[in-house]
């Protein structure tokens, strides 16, 4: 038994999983409220990654940053969260709101269109090259946690910690605040919520802002850990994020966290022990298995369709 490899895989899987969990949360929140599969969510992540890259470039790049590293990473995160959030709000306002009462297929097609538009816009303006954050230049790859066989690069710790902080923050927001209660009510029954005096449109806008801000932050985290970003990266993260949301039970916040970690670990184990190229096959099989055996996900409640 190769303990070092096993530990490494668990660390990789947790890192990847916390990113998936962030994406899954955005998916799950939007799906819970609008019953809409937001295909453009992965592309918000991509735009967030590019915003982070832009901030990094403005502040001197990885080799020669003009501000302390901690501040730099914080600034990148904040910028991409704000940028991603507003992008999400704009998408909701112009692509989904006009279709609020349209047949269900219409917003899905619109979402495909938005996704295609964002990808090709970035391709047009920034080109098809892979961009790199060069995090190894920014933070020495040997700093971090070293205990026995456990070697964790500090950036991975930062990614996992910030993802979990955001998730816990979101959980508290949904459970404790008035906005969170309004979100739950809207997700439960939009019409009834509107009748109870909840401004449904406002709640939806805020949901989009929060979900997309998380995706934007996830974009920066991806850039920090996995190094390379390009215009097409959003597709993969969107797909995995949605899978995580479904596996965990769509509409459930702990479910999205658990689903993200589960998919991340499954992918890391598949890549480590079975085949790196065919890891997606395993993730896909998990998705199919969950959908057939427990369509409401591991944490979700079974949907009752009203007639």
């Amino acid at each position: 038994m190769d303990w070092e490899k096993l530990v490494q895989i668990i660390v990789n899987g947790t890192t990847l999983g916390s990113v998936y969990a962030l994406v899954a949360l955005g998916f799950s929140m939007v799906y819970g409220i609008l019953k809409l599969l937001n295909f453009a969510h992965g592309d918000v992540l991509m735009v967030g990654a590019f915003i982070g890259w832009g901030v990094l470039g403005r502040l001197g790049g990885s080799l020669d940053p003009t501000v302390p590293v901690v501040l730099l990473i914080a600034l990148m995160m904040v910028a991409s969260m704000i940028g991603g959030g507003f992008l999400g709000v704009a998408i909701e306002r112009f692509a989904y709101r006009p279709l609020r009462n349209a047949p269900r297929i219409a917003p899905l097609i619109s979402a495909l269109g938005v996704s295609f538009f964002l990808q090709n816009t970035v391709l047009l303006l920034w080109g098809a090259d892979f961009r790199s954050y060069d995090t190894f230049d920014l933070v020495d790859p040997f700093t971090g946690l070293h205990v026995g066989v456990l070697n964790v690069w500090i950036i991975r710790l930062v990614v996992i910690a910030s993802a979990f902080t955001m998730m816990l923050g979101l959980y508290a927001l949904v459970k404790k605040t008035k906005l969170g209660k309004a979100m739950q009510a809207t997700a439960f029954d939009r019409e009834a919520a509107a009748m109870m005096g909840i401004d449904v449109d406002k709640v939806i806008v805020k949901t989009f802002f929060i979900g997309s801000a998380l995706a934007g932050a996830a974009g920066v985290l991806v850039g920090l850990v996995f190094g390379q970003i390009n215009h097409f990266m959003g597709f993969n993260y969107g797909l995995k994020g949605f899978t995580a949301a479904v596996v965990g039970g769509i509409g459930s916040i702990p479910g999205a966290m658990f689903g993200g970690l589960f998919i991340g670990l499954a992918e890391a184990f598949a890549a480590g022990y079975i085949s790196n190229t065919f890891k997606d096959v395993i993730v896909f099989s998990i998705l199919i298995a969950v959908m057939i055996l427990r369509p409401s996900g591991l944490f979700g409640k079974a949907a009752v369709s009203k007639v």
């Binding site: 019953k35 809409l36 047949p103 269900r104 899905l108 816009t121 047009l124 797909l239 096959v281 959908m291």
Partner: protein, 490 residues
Amino acid sequence: MTDETQDLPEGPDAAARPRVGVDEWVERVAGGSEAGWQGALRARLERVPLWSKPIAFVLPLGLFPFFTGSDYWMQVGIDTLLFMLLALGLNVAVGWAGLLDLGYIAFYGFGAYGFAFLASGHFGLHWDGQWVIPIVVAATVLLGFLVGLPSRRLVGDYLAIVTLFFLQLFLTILLNADRLSIPFKGQVDFTRGPNGISDVDQLTLFGWRLDSLDDYFYIALAAFALVFVGLAFVNDSRTGRAWRSLREDSLAAELMSMPVNRLKLLAFAFGAGVAGLAGTIFSASQGSVFPANFDVTALITLYAMVILGGFGSLSGVAVGAIVINLALELLRTPEKASWIFFGLLLLTLPFVIRPLGRWLAVAVGTVVFGFVVRALSEQFWERGVEGTTPGLARIDRIVDGWVLVPADPDGLAKVGYLTLVAGVLGLTLLKGWWRTAAFVPVLYLAACVWENVMVGQPAVARYILIGAMLVALMASRPQGLFGTARVEIV
């Protein structure tokens, strides 16, 4: 019922919508749901006998090879026909049965690779077309059936993600199955990975070898005509009606004792079979297949065709395929791209800015506005007119003296582009004369951005236009050009 609905206050576009609570079929039979000349035209079109529609497609297309001598245009013609076939097949799953199948293009790829496996030097098999085509089509139908299986338990959106994931898997396998290790045989090169299979045989049908582009064009045309007629009959059959009932409300259909699951699988399999057939012709006519032919871009392009034409209408989706494929093809060439761009603007604007007088005011206003801005720029900001557009069409030379073309537009290009996107979105928020007035600077900005940024990379710009078109169509006319408006059950 009717008394109640008449008492309800009617929205401004009440005439354009089908009445609430009226069945689609009743709506259609009771008369067009649209007022004005469009409604009259639709009512007219619906009274055209069924047999005349395939003839209306086949006759002009059949004459096409006589008018063109160039191989390039024949190739475009074959491509267009294949996309028309695919659009027909996708229409079965999405337009009739209402299943959002985002893995559809994988069936096309499966058909193409299936032909390449059985008739190429790759495995040393050189079977005849009359055997390969039925085998491959049957295999694709089976695959469609298998992919459809989990769909029995999934509502629309889940199905979309499963099928999208299936497409992703299909591409992963195509790209990576070039060094599979199989027990007892060692490494096997199954798909040749990203290099594709490039020694595919020509199609041989009962000893007749298709060796010119004209032959393939006619084979594709024959396949299109057959599928069109076949699907038209299916649409009018029991199964066709059952599919539509499924699309409108699958729960109600189930209550009416429709075998919902079987119908879904059937729709999947039908669509997949058509894609498999198109794939075999594609493979044989190109002589090569690559994984890149079957990616998400191709999928969204196909969706754009079906949506522009109108879900559920056979002739609609075929027209959509022709329009989109030709537009994309012309947009790709820098010599023609600008003609298409400005042509599209001129064609669509009268529908956006109505009545005609306003449209004329906007057109004249934009031209004047441009010259004023250009003159101002020459006075105060000389850099703005120093460059030349990278466009190669004659219209680019004409427009060059009218738009702002900075010498080194890189940073400005991004600002300009993003401002344009914001401007177009802002337009949708304005109403009345404000909107008309705001069109002038936005249109001028669009021309500037096109000439500076987009015309240099038409291959990317065209997909941006497709994406924007999808969003705009969904917001303004989700039924496309020829589709019938959906009735939402409230």
